[in-house]
């Protein structure tokens, strides 16, 4: 008898096997919020190469991957660490010509992804008309005229990432993914629809029955999800509202250490390459004390 549904629960180690060198990955996250950073650490440990990383707001996970040599190209509207300042590995790598930064306006980048999600070759926007950004990617943004009015708009070429990676509040084993209060931010909303494969880490795997009791929170349907990994505190040091805040101590440590190449390497060794497990990582960042401090949102 064929199975009713596919069980998609796996480990971080197995999940990253779905990502291949050279892939385009869409990585959820804002400067200090809601990013699948345990998965990013596993990507770094598994030494993926030549990735193109798509983010709306690039943050600490992207900076780590760049520092670790995983990244060839970045598509984003901004890359920084919010109030903690510049993403130093990103800045250095761009200035040294080691990676390419393809900067978009937010609506251009989302229009590219939305076109991808709809199987349309392009969508249009007015965002960025007159600015310099469209000139740096003529292969993907081009001024065209409305066939009815002649008004100029920017055509944004479809983008379908190979894999979208996200962290969410909970899911069932089939991959019905829930967000609290609901999926609101653009990356959570658009990335999974646009990507060919979707990997989601969650704080908690719950029963399918629990999902059916609260369908209003479900943001990604199981038929769009390829892997579910249970990783409590999987967004750390970013926040996952309302579960936990971002970890100012670790952010500040990274902001400080990443001022030098050597310091960045030390940080990666200590927090990403040496810990053998997520539990060991949490222990290194402060253990119980760290888990207590991120309960505060102040």
């Amino acid at each position: 008898m064929v199975a009713r549904k596919k069980d998609k629960v796996m480990t971080l180690v197995d999940a990253v096997q779905l990502i291949h060198d050279g892939d385009i990955i869409a990585l959820q996250g804002m400067g200090t919020q809601m990013s699948p950073l345990a998965l990013v650490r596993e990507i770094i440990r598994s030494r993926k190469r030549d990735l193109t990383v798509v983010m709306v707001v690039g943050g600490i996970g992207l900076d780590w991957m760049i520092a670790a040599g995983c990244v060839r190209r970045v598509l984003a509207i901004i890359v920084n660490l919010d109030e903690f300042g510049m993403a130093n590995a990103f800045r250095r790598a761009v200035e040294a010509g080691e990676i390419e930064m393809e900067e978009y306006t937010e609506h251009q980048l989302l229009s590219r992804l939305s076109a991808g999600s709809k199987g349309l070759p392009f969508l249009v926007t007015r965002s960025g008309l007159g600015a310099d950004l469209i000139n740096i990617h003529p292969e993907t943004t081009k001024i065209i005229e409305c066939p009815f009015t002649g008004q100029k708009v920017i055509a944004c070429r479809a983008l379908e990432p190979d894999v979208a990676i996200l962290h969410a509040h909970r899911a069932d084993l089939y991959g019905n993914v829930q967000f609290f209060p609901k999926p609101i931010w653009t990356d959570v909303d658009v990335f999974p629809r646009a990507a060919k494969k979707v990997i989601v880490t969650v704080e908690e795997i719950v029963e399918n029955e629990e999902i059916r009791r609260t369908p209003i929170h479900t943001g990604i349907p199981y038929f769009k999800v390829d892997a579910v990994v249970e990783v409590p505190y999987g967004a750390h040091p970013c926040s996952l509202y309302p579960n936990y805040s971002f970890d100012r101590v670790l952010f500040q440590e990274y902001a400080t250490m990443s001022r030098t190449v050597e310091g960045t390497r030390q940080f990666l060794d200590k927090y990403i390459l040496e810990p053998a497990s997520h539990a060991e990582y949490l222990q290194r960042v402060g253990g119980a004390e760290a888990l207590l401090r991120i309960r505060k949102w102040s």
């Binding site: 509207i77 890359v79 200035e95 900067e103 609506h107 989302l110 931010w185 500040q252 505060k296 102040s298």
Partner: protein, 273 residues
């Protein structure tokens, strides 16, 4: 009767000056690391513009977070909102079409026509300095917004003759060049740590409007990397009222988050503020 405050700081003057620009009918969203505009929005709502609509962190409609904390994009900002505005279809539609017409920006370079750059210093492909990126202002510049520019670094590195990279469209080359591109509105005011500027209606060149207490016109001119239009009479920036200062210090931003935007402000290295 309104009492002017005697005891105020530059960050407070900047917030108050910005707040006074906002009207009862404004619908304003905020971006990341935007404590000064968010404080201004909350202050306007508590004083002359109670009907002003704030979309907190571009999500929480008419939120009531209490006082400033954390991060201006944090979900903590959404507290007591009437709606979580889905960003992709809802928020961006309202922004694109013009329902949300007011936006505050800042950047590494600002030129005399109010064009802004936060992308690179030098050539895009071989930058001398790679900056974070344009983020939302790359959109807003081309979407008919009434733009308010704030800067806590009024100097010749920030205020330049011409931006190295045109990230946010201001008045382009001045005159009617923005209009000819089909864009409405544009930069309205520039509020810095030294003074306040607007744009001369014909040429669209930046024009000094007032200097802050203790700042001379000469000093501000020297700190500006292009020729500013300077009227014969340049008043001092109107000071905050005692009520504004009270609301800002004691109600809206008791933790002084607005000061984080100034260079040299100590970073908080703990969640246990």
């Amino acid at each position: 009767m309104t009492h002017c405050a005697e005891d105020y700081t530059i960050d407070e003057l900047m917030v108050v000056t910005l707040a006074r620009q906002f009207t009862n009918d404004d619908i304003i969203l905020n971006g990341t690391v935007s404590f000064i505009p968010v404080a201004a929005i909350l202050l306007a709502r508590e004083t002359h513009a109670p009907g002003l609509t704030w979309v907190a962190g571009a999500v929480g409609v008419d939120a009531q977070p209490g006082y400033l904390m954390g991060n201006t994009l944090d979900p903590t900002m959404w507290k007591n909102c009437v709606m979580y505005l889905p960003q992709w279809e809802d928020m961006w539609s309202y922004v694109h079409r013009g329902t949300l017409e007011t936006f505050c920006i800042r950047g590494a370079q600002i030129d005399k026509y109010g064009n802004v750059n936060n992308t690179v210093i030098g050539d895009y492909y071989h930058p001398k300095v790679r900056l974070p990126g344009s983020a939302g202002m790359g959109d807003m510049g081309s979407l008919d917004k009434r733009i308010f520019i704030w800067s806590t670094t009024h100097n010749r590195r920030t205020f330049v003759e011409r931006v190295d990279f045109l990230g946010c469209v201001g008045y382009l080359d001045g005159g009617d060049s923005r209009e000819r591109l089909g864009l409405k509105n544009g930069p309205q005011l520039v509020v810095t740590d030294l003074g306040v500027m607007d744009f001369e209606p014909e040429s669209k060149r930046m024009r000094l409007k007032s200097v802050h207490r203790g700042v001379t016109v000469e000093h501000l001119r020297e700190q500006t990397g292009f020729e500013l239009i300077i009227p014969d009479e340049v008043p001092e920036t109107p000071p905050p009222t005692e009520r504004e200062i009270h609301l800002l210090r004691d109600v809206i931003d008791p933790r002084g988050m607005r000061k984080l935007e100034f260079r040299g402000a100590g970073k908080r290295a703990s969640n246990e503020k």
